[in-house]
Each structure stands twice: as structure tokens, then as C-alpha cells.
């Protein structure tokens, strides 16, 4: 256990330069964005003097190193600054929007795993068969369409034409009240509050965007599951297990699948962080108040604090996620943390 703790600490230490790097790069990137935020935010009829005034107010009149120093200082106090586009402190905004994005992404991944993993296993048990080819074609088709296109198409069919889906108005239709915020995840909060109606309403809102994302993430998960299962199934210990008379079920799930889980978990982590960053487009289509759409707006408006805050938040999430994966890894694989590699 001690050893594992040390491994975790070592991981965290490794993440430190990454976070520093992200802070620096995001700072430089935002300053490289074209446009003058002072002019943008001084308002519609602002003249040169009021733009200058705004610039001073925003602290943009200082030199770059000075600005960076101030930024880091603020950061150290946990202050990410204030977004100019939305007029809210970035921290608050992220805290409200992150759960929305996470909820969407997690549900999408859950759905995706629910489909892709069985497909991958199925394909792996019959490699080269038509089932295998069909699975491959299916999941590849899913990853071949841009998400915003899938999203709009789904809305057209399931909302506009048939009316089966609820109006794509974000996380909850306006007739429902948000459940009291505990985790920020509506499904969880509604369940905690015991409010079945809101729970279903939130779920209904999730279906289309989650399906859009899920469709996009099927391929990597299914492919990796298939590959991992194939290599697990062809390994020696499976032969041993078969020779010992274990049932096919036990062999497939107890032996092969658990071993195949390792690479699948890695892929899942990558897919997760990728999806979280990429659901920008889906969020826009479904009016989902997540961090992705926040970032896009901020970026287009050269809203420094918001962009920096978003990037930092994602980087922290990325680091946390990797840590989580490592932990999951060491739970699944006892070899981790020892000098085995």
C-alpha cells in the first residue's frame, strides 16, 4: 500500500511540470490571439479614451511578464479571474459548467461502452467472420461523421419530424426546476432529491446529445476491446484454463476479459479526455451549457481569463484522469508499481 501511495505521489510530481507548462502555454496562446479585448469590451460606442480606460482596468497595459506574474499570483490564490464575455468569475462558471459537460460525456461513454465492448468481444470471438467485418464497418461509420452533423440530423429526425425527443434546450426543459445542486450532475442530484420527474426530464434531454457523442466514440473502444480480447484469448493462460476444464463463460469473462480490460481502460481514458475537449461542437448544437461551448465563445472573443481558466481546468482534469487510470490499472493489474516493466 505504501508502495502504491509512493507511486501516486510520484505521478503527481510528474504532473507538476505539465501543469506549469499548461499555465505558461495557455497564457502565451491567449496573448497571441488576435484582437484587442480592451476594444471589444469597451463597448459599442467607445472612443479611444474609453478603450484606454478599459485597458487599464483589465490590466492589459502592463508588460507581458508583469501580466504573467499577476496571473500566477492570482492563480496561487485560487482566483482564475473574471470572464468578460459572461461577466462571471471563471471559477464559478467552470464549477457550474463542468458537471454539465462531465455528465454528458460520462453518459455518452457509458452508452458507448455498453455497445462497443460487447461488440468488440463478439468480434474477437469470431475474428475474420462476417460478424467481425460487420462490427468494424458499423463502428467505423460512427466515427466517420462530424458530430455537429450527426447532432443536427438527430434533432431533425427525432425532434423536428417525429417529436419523440424533447426540445433540445440544454440540460432541462424550462418547465422543470433544476434539482438542488449537490454534485452538479442533474441525474444524481435529482435522484438524491428523490424527484423522479426531473430525473426523467434530465435523462430525456441527455439522450440525443449523448447518442451523438456515443456514436463517435464507439470505434476506438470497440477496436481496442477487440484487439485486447484477441491477444488475451490467444495467450497461454487461456489455454491452461481451457485445459483445466473451466467453462467458456469463466474463461471469456473471468480470465480473458479482465486481462483485456487493461488496454481498454487506457483507451477509455484517452477517449474520455478527447471527448470532453471535443464535445464543444455537440454542446453548441444542443444548447448544452457545458465548458466546451464556453471555451469556444471565450476564444472567439479573446476572453483571456476564461480561456486560461478553461485550459487549466481541463489540464487538471487530464492529470486527475491519468491518475485515476493509473489507479484503475493498479487495481486490475497487480504488477503495476513493481519493477516489472
Amino acid at each position: 500500500m505504501n508502495r502504491r501511495l509512493r507511486a501516486v505521489l510520484a505521478r503527481l510530481a510528474q504532473a507538476l511540470p505539465v501543469i506549469l507548462g499548461v499555465v505558461l502555454v495557455s497564457f502565451l496562446l491567449t496573448r497571441a490571439l488576435p484582437g484587442d479585448p480592451a476594444a471589444y469590451f469597451a463597448g459599442d460606442a467607445a472612443d479611444a479614451a474609453s478603450i484606454e480606460e478599459t485597458r487599464v482596468k483589465l490590466g492589459l497595459d502592463r508588460s507581458m511578464p508583469e501580466q504573467f506574474g499577476l496571473y500566477v499570483l492570482q492563480l496561487a490564490q485560487g482566483d482564475l479571474g473574471q470572464s468578460l464575455t459572461t461577466g462571471q468569475p471563471v471559477v464559478e462558471e467552470l464549477a457550474r459548467r463542468l458537471p454539465a459537460s462531465l455528465e454528458l460525456t460520462l453518459v455518452a461513454l457509458l452508452v458507448s461502452c455498453g455497445i462497443a465492448v460487447p461488440l468488440g468481444v463478439l468480434a474477437a470471438t469470431r475474428p475474420g467472420s462476417w460478424v467481425d467485418h460487420a462490427c468494424r464497418l458499423l463502428v467505423t461509420a460512427g466515427v466517420s461523421l462530424p458530430t455537429f452533423f450527426t447532432g443536427v440530423a438527430l434533432i431533425y429526425v427525432f425532434y423536428y419530424l417525429t417529436g419523440w425527443a424533447p426540445s433540445p434546450l440544454g440540460r432541462l426543459d424550462f418547465i422543470y426546476l433544476e434539482p438542488p445542486s449537490v454534485t452538479g450532475f442533474f441525474l444524481i442530484d435529482a435522484a438524491l432529491a428523490g424527484d423522479a420527474e426531473t430525473w426523467f426530464a434530465a435523462l430525456r434531454q441527455l439522450i440525443l446529445p449523448a447518442a451523438t457523442l456515443a456514436l463517435f466514440t464507439l470505434a476506438p473502444i470497440a477496436r481496442m476491446t477487440r484487439a485486447a480480447m484477441l491477444s488475451a484469448l490467444s495467450s497461454d493462460y487461456i489455454r491452461t484454463a481451457r485445459a483445466a476444464g473451466l467453462t467458456s463463460r469463466k474463461i471469456l469473462f473471468g480470465y480473458a476479459f479482465r486481462n483485456a480490460l487493461l488496454p481498454v481502460v487506457t483507451t477509455l481514458g484517452m477517449v474520455f479526455s478527447f471527448t470532453l475537449g471535443a464535445n464543444v461542437l455537440v454542446e453548441k448544437v444542443f444548447a448544452w451549457p457545458g465548458i466546451g461551448s464556453y471555451a469556444v465563445e471565450a476564444l472567439v472573443a479573446s476572453d483571456y481569463a476564461a480561456v486560461q481558466g478553461f485550459v487549466l481546468c481541463m489540464a487538471l482534469l487530464f492529470v486527475a484522469l491519468n491518475l485515476l487510470i493509473d489507479l484503475a490499472y493498479s487495481m486490475i493489474d497487480p504488477r503495476i508499481g513493481f519493477d516489472s516493466k
Binding site: G35, T85, S167, P168, V285, A287
Partner: protein, 503 residues
């Protein structure tokens, strides 16, 4: 949704409840309209299509009961309605007005600039004579002063509450007002989820006019315009704000669509005088003749708005009015041949990413025709933050699409902003001494003055001859309604929910 809840969708986000704040964006101005009162307001008229519009020609009371103008035109005295109360029930006093006006001229940025347009420059111009009497003293008489008090900027805050939130660093309670509405207006904001929704609830204590029919107005932000269209068409929302022209023309008939030409506004092609070829008057004319106006009006505006080409002489002082130019490639070629750039030239053609719904097709159509003259243009989409800087602040775009609409509906006001040297919306770097003089002379001159019309017509003439801005068409603000009534058009182009009702 209940019977008295109206749901409105729009694409843009509201970023503050305080119009005075630095960085407050346009959509947020509606909060000043709906949740606050001003001393006076514009009247309402019914348009030919039955929709409502504000009426620039009449000024009506809002929180002021009555007002008088001194003989020299320099002192305006307002009497405040005795029954006027803020949302917390406290009386609206002249002190509140004074504090609010002081705030508007002191915070800097847009509110201060807008106040200045009406000659309202310094706190010492405002005085609370007693609880119910408030005076404004102008440096010189101006026809713009009273209308400028009817725009959203000089809204009246509850200074007693605001002062509780004043700090040394924040003498105008910006932080507090940013997140709270402390007005006497028709609505109060009961919920604001930035980036998602704004919920208005009717203020039953309102005295500024007849109580709104809708008890609640829910404003939802839906970035995707396709989604917004689906929503309004299916009737899941009652109002879709600022819909694209295409949707407007297609939805017309299916749902209620109001397209109101925006007063004092034109979509133009801006030719920058700092760019050498455009210093040549023949090149500018060549461009003006090479613009396929009809096609643009059809594909970019879908016929919504008012054509601004092919005019047959300046007869009125209405602004905007059609330019004398039409699409005529032969004439364009003639002009270009006369110029020093007969062989054509290369020029970047800049458009705003945020307005690409009309700018992109327009630019493409113009680009295609210019190419026939040998003028090679490359289309540059500039994202929001950079657009203002590049086009208005630095004024460095050689060829760009532009739009400007003056809140105060006077031609001289428009020219003041868009044709005077160094002024913000003069993105062409246009400088003409005669125009400078004419604007200075007409700006404060009453419209009825006999000198006014000839001078303004002369301005039009010069503008059409010099062509720093080639008018394309007067845009329209389109709003779709499905299951609600009471839409009123305002020059500020933001939602006025005070007459909204379900049905």
C-alpha cells in the same frame, strides 16, 4: 409552461444585468429596458403590418410624470410620478435619478459616450431639487437631449440599496448591480444562469405603463440557429429573437414573423481611404457599379429589409435612402479604365465571423463580380474580438462589409458617427471638410429649422459622390412569434417584454 409564461429563445448570451458595466454586451441592454425605468420613453405606434414599433416622434412619460424645457432650451425639469416605487416598495426619488445619472456619466465607456451624445457630460448638470423634482442643465440646447434620456442608458436605480453595496474600490456598486436588478421596471430578474437562461418575473408594483400580460418571461440561449428554428416552428417556444432572414422569409405564414427595417441603419461596403486604389474616385465608383445589389438582397436578405440602390435623386431627408448606383458591369469597367488601376488590383475583403450569415453570401457575390473587373479579393473572416479592433478602432481593413445604426434617428446623428473624421464608425478613414462642417452645423439644429433639410441633403449628395460607404440595403430585425403577442420593435433591437402576453 403555464398560461402566462412566455419562452423566448435567442442565440446570444447575456453577460450582465448592468448596462453601465464595462464589457456588458448588447443583448444585456434588455435588462435595462425590462427591469428599470427611465424618466421618459418613446411612444408606441402600430406599423402597417399590425406590429408595434416605438415611435421616435413622441416622447412619453415613464417615471417622470411631466417635464418642462426652459425657454433657452438649456434646463429640463422633470416631475417624478408620486406613485412610482422600486421593486422593494420604496419610493422613487429625484435623488435616485441624480445618483443614477451621475453613475452613467462617470463610469466611462459606452454609457458615458452615449450620455455625451445628448449633451449630458458631468454630474454637476444634474440636480435633485426636491424629492420629486429633478433638473438637467445643458451646456447648449440640443434636439438630442430629450431623446437621449429615452434610450436604455439613463435608467434609474434604487440608490438606497446601491449605496449599501458601495465600497472605496467600487463607488458605483458595479459588482452588486451586475448581478441584481434594483429598478422600478416592469420585471425583475428572478433567475440568471449565465450562458443558459434569464427568467423575468412581472413586477406588479410597476407604474411605468400597463402591466405586462406575461407573468414570467423565460429567455433561453440556444446557440444553434437550426435548433432555434426547430423550436419555434414546433411551438415549444413562443418567440425566437432575431431570426436569420432566410428563416424569416420561410417561416412567414407558418408562424407570426415580424421584420422591421432597422431605423437609421444600413449594411454597407466600406472602402478604406487609406488603401491606395480606393483613393481614386473612379475605383470607388467602379466598385459601386460592380455590386450585384439585387442578388445580394435576394440571397443575403431574402428580401427582408429595404433596397438601398438605384435611387432617383435626393428628395427627402429620410435616412437611409437609396444611392443612385445600380449593378452595371459596363459602367464599372468604364470607371475602372478611367482610373489609375485599369488592370485591377488585389485586396483583402474582410467580414465579421459573427455576422457571417449575411456577410458571407454578400462578400462572395461581390467578390465574384469584382473578379470580372480584375479586382482580386480574398475573403477574410475575422473573429469577434478582432473585428472591432481591426475595423473600427484601427480602421485598417481596406475593403469590408460594415453596419452601423444610430439609436437616435437623425441623419446628422448617423453622419456624425459614420462620416466624420476619426469617429468610431467611420471605418473608411473618410475625411471631407464640407461634411465635417455640415455635421457640426446640423447636429444640434432642430429638424424643423429651415436650414436643416438643405444641409442634410447636401451631406447625402457628398456621401453618394465620395462613396466611402456603398449602401447595400437597410437591414430588418426579424422576430418570430408562435403563441404569444405583444412584440414591439425598438431602435436598440433588444427584447422589450413589457407588452408580451401569451396567446
Amino acid at each position: 409552461a403555464g398560461d402566462d409564461v412566455v419562452v423566448v429563445v435567442m442565440g446570444q448570451t447575456i453577460n450582465s444585468l448592468d448596462l453601465h458595466r464595462t464589457g456588458t454586451n448588447r443583448p444585456s441592454y434588455q435588462v435595462a429596458v425590462n427591469c428599470y425605468d427611465r424618466l421618459v420613453s418613446f411612444g408606441t405606434k402600430t406599423m402597417p403590418d399590425g406590429s408595434l414599433s416605438y415611435d421616435y416622434s413622441t416622447i412619453v412619460p415613464e417615471i417622470a410624470e411631466s417635464w418642462t424645457v426652459s425657454d433657452d432650451g438649456k434646463v429640463l425639469t422633470f416631475r417624478i410620478k408620486p406613485e412610482a416605487v422600486f421593486q422593494d416598495g420604496s419610493k422613487v426619488t429625484a435623488q435616485d435619478v441624480k445618483w443614477s445619472f451621475d453613475r452613467a456619466v462617470s463610469v466611462g465607456g459606452f454609457p458615458t459616450t452615449q450620455m455625451a451624445a445628448g449633451g449630458l457630460l458631468r454630474p454637476d448638470q444634474f440636480a435633485a431639487v426636491d424629492e420629486a423634482t429633478f433638473t438637467v442643465t445643458l451646456d447648449k440646447p440640443s434636439k438630442l437631449a430629450l431623446p437621449d434620456l429615452a434610450v436604455p442608458v439613463p435608467f434609474i436605480l434604487n440608490s438606497k440599496i446601491a449605496k449599501q453595496h458601495v465600497t472605496d474600490a467600487d463607488p458605483w456598486a458595479m459588482e452588486f448591480v451586475h448581478k441584481n436588478t434594483i429598478g422600478s421596471g416592469a420585471y425583475k430578474v428572478v433567475r440568471w444562469d449565465p450562458g443558459q437562461q434569464l427568467v423575468y418575473e412581472r413586477n406588479d408594483l410597476w407604474t411605468g405603463g400597463p402591466l405586462p400580460g406575461a407573468k414570467r418571461v423565460v429567455l433561453r440561449e440556444v446557440p444553434s440557429q437550426a435548433t432555434r428554428r426547430a423550436l419555434i416552428e414546433r411551438g415549444d417556444v413562443q418567440m425566437s429573437w432575431n431570426i436569420p432572414n432566410k428563416d424569416a422569409s420561410e417561416l412567414d405564414g407558418k408562424v407570426e414573423v415580424y421584420s422591421t427595417p432597422i431605423e437609421n441603419a444600413i449594411y454597407v461596403v466600406s472602402l478604406n481611404y487609406n488603401f491606395e486604389p480606393f483613393q481614386d474616385p473612379d475605383v470607388r465608383k467602379a466598385v459601386a457599379y460592380a455590386i450585384p445589389y439585387e442578388e445580394i438582397f435576394k440571397t443575403a436578405a431574402y428580401g427582408r429589409g429595404v433596397p438601398m440602390w438605384g435611387g432617383s435623386g435626393i428628395e427627402t431627408i429620410d435616412w437611409p435612402q437609396p444611392s443612385p448606383y445600380v449593378f452595371d458591369l459596363d459602367k464599372a469597367r468604364e470607371h475602372l479604365e478611367k482610373s489609375a488601376f485599369a488592370g485591377g488590383f488585389d485586396v483583402p475583403f474582410s467580414i465579421d465571423l459573427g455576422q457571417s450569415d449575411w456577410m458571407e453570401p454578400t462578400a462572395l457575390l461581390i467578390q465574384e463580380q469584382l473578379a470580372k473587373l480584375g479586382i482580386t479579393s480574398t475573403i477574410d473572416k475575422i473573429p469577434g474580438a478582432n473585428w472591432r479592433t481591426a475595423s473600427l478602432v484601427e480602421k485598417r481593413l481596406p475593403l469590408a462589409l460594415e453596419t452601423f445604426g444610430g439609436w437616435l434617428n437623425y441623419p446628422c446623428y448617423y453622419f456624425f458617427w459614420a462620416y466624420q473624421e476619426g469617429h468610431l464608425f467611420n471605418s473608411s478613414n473618410y475625411a471631407n471638410p464640407e461634411i465635417e462642417q455640415l455635421v457640426a452645423e446640423t447636429l444640434d439644429l432642430p429638424v424643423e429649422h429651415p436650414d436643416y433639410a438643405p444641409k442634410v441633403k447636401r451631406m447625402f449628395e457628398i456621401a453618394f459622390e465620395d462613396l466611402p460607404r456603398i449602401p447595400l440595403f437597410q437591414p430588418a430585425l426579424s422576430v418570430a412569434m408562435n403563441g404569444a403577442t405583444g412584440y414591439e420593435y425598438w431602435f436598440h433591437r433588444e427584447l422589450d417584454a413589457r407588452k408580451l402576453a401569451k396567446g
